[in-house]
């Protein structure tokens, strides 16, 4: 078995899964993930729907995505053990070492801050990569297109300041 599938097979497989989820044959709704993350956080921190307006507002969609994310965990685990064979405990990504630093403390601190910004930002925007860019883009949603331009544009500009310059090969 190959250890990785090329981008075009990944793209075709992902769109077939999207057809299934989006249609009445599957779940009759598009895939999203950040509402599920927020919903899981309300479970973890005991923010119930009776007392918190936002929990009540996202309860239906959040529960669906929360259960889906449990499936994601097992799908990732199965693939990393049997297909990509990439399962191992690691602390710092290789490219981070090359373009930022080799400090575990620094990577952990930035990971926490970035994780916070990702979920907080996604909730403010009403969706993430999956909900806005992939599912939104597939419906030609103007909200998804605005999100994609602002988020990816910010990422490119931020990346330029945050990381060291790319080394030239020569």
């Amino acid at each position: 078995m190959p250890r990785q599938i090329p981008w075009w097979i990944g793209g075709i497989a992902m769109s077939l899964l999207f057809y299934f989820s989006f249609s009445g044959f599957g779940a009759n709704r598009p895939i999203g993930a950040s509402t599920g993350m927020a919903y899981l956080s309300t479970i973890l921190f005991g923010l119930d729907a009776e007392h918190y307006e936002y929990t009540a507002q996202i309860e239906q969609s959040g529960a669906w995505e929360g259960v889906m994310l449990i499936g994601v965990l097992f799908g990732g685990l199965f693939t990393s053990i049997f297909l990509t064979k990439s399962f191992h405990i690691s602390f710092i990504p290789t490219l981070w070492k090359k373009r930022k630093n080799s400090s575990v403390k620094s990577r952990m601190l930035w990971s926490f801050i970035a994780g916070f910004l990702l979920v907080f930002g996604a909730r403010l925007a009403g969706g993430c990569n999956a909900g806005h860019i992939l599912s939104g883009g597939s419906q030609l949603a103007v909200s998804g297109i605005i999100f994609a331009i602002v988020a990816l544009g910010t990422g490119v500009v931020m990346g330029r300041f945050f990381y060291k310059a790319k080394e030239c090969k020569k």
């Binding site: 989820s21 259960v67 990732g76 979920v119 403010l124 419906q139």
Partner: protein
């Protein structure tokens, strides 16, 4: 906490968006495709924004190109309904801005969080903890924030502006994405950590 977790499955079982089994299967394949294409790696997700890898934009463009045509016909023939997110303009732009900063630093999107954790990446687990705090603080502050997240500009789709030619718009959109994905140069950051056994 346990009762909330049980309730989560109970809601899914009763809300009519697929059985719990179907939702878990959708999640399983979603996670498996992300992991098998290596989309969850920092080198791919942050890498494309710092010009080290082009897998993410090529795969995302292919997905959106094929899904946009498929979704259009599924809705046209009555097998699905569009579920478009609203434009709450201030929240959308500010949220996307914060999300973009988080994305280039952590190198994972919320879909890939659990994939990376299941692969043994401790830094992503810390990112998930940050995300949990982010989600909880948003929930806590929501009554204060919802008042300035607008204006609500509704749920427009691009083809709403071209009512008589909606299929043509979808086909043009899809074609542009497919051609761009195909002609983007192949830049791949080959992570030595992934290929130890082979070398």
């Amino acid at each position: 906490m346990m009762d909330r977790i049980v309730n989560m499955f109970h809601i899914v079982a009763n809300e009519g968006h697929g059985s719990v089994f179907v939702v878990l299967v959708i999640g399983f394949f979603f996670g498996a495709i992300i992991a098998y294409s290596r989309l969850d790696k920092f080198e791919k997700m942050a890498g494309f924004m710092i010009f080290e890898d082009t897998l993410v934009p090529r795969m995302a463009m292919t997905t959106v190109a094929l899904s946009s045509v498929g979704f259009y016909f599924l809705v046209h023939f009555g097998y699905a309904t569009f579920a478009v997110k609203p434009i709450l303009l201030t929240g959308l732009v500010l949220g996307a801005f914060l999300f973009g900063i988080g994305l280039v630093i952590l190198g994972k999107c919320p879909s890939a969080f659990f994939v990376s954790v299941s692969e043994g990446r401790v830094d992503t687990f810390v990112g998930v903890l940050g995300g949990m705090v982010g989600g909880a603080i948003f929930t806590y502050l929501y009554p204060l924030m919802k008042v300035w997240m607008g204006p609500d500009l509704g749920t427009p789709q691009v083809f709403d502006y071209f009512i008589d030619h909606s299929l043509l718009v979808v086909l043009i959109f899809s074609t542009i994405l497919l051609i761009t994905a195909y002609f983007l140069p192949t830049i791949e950051f080959r992570d030595p950590a992934d290929f130890k056994e082979k070398e």
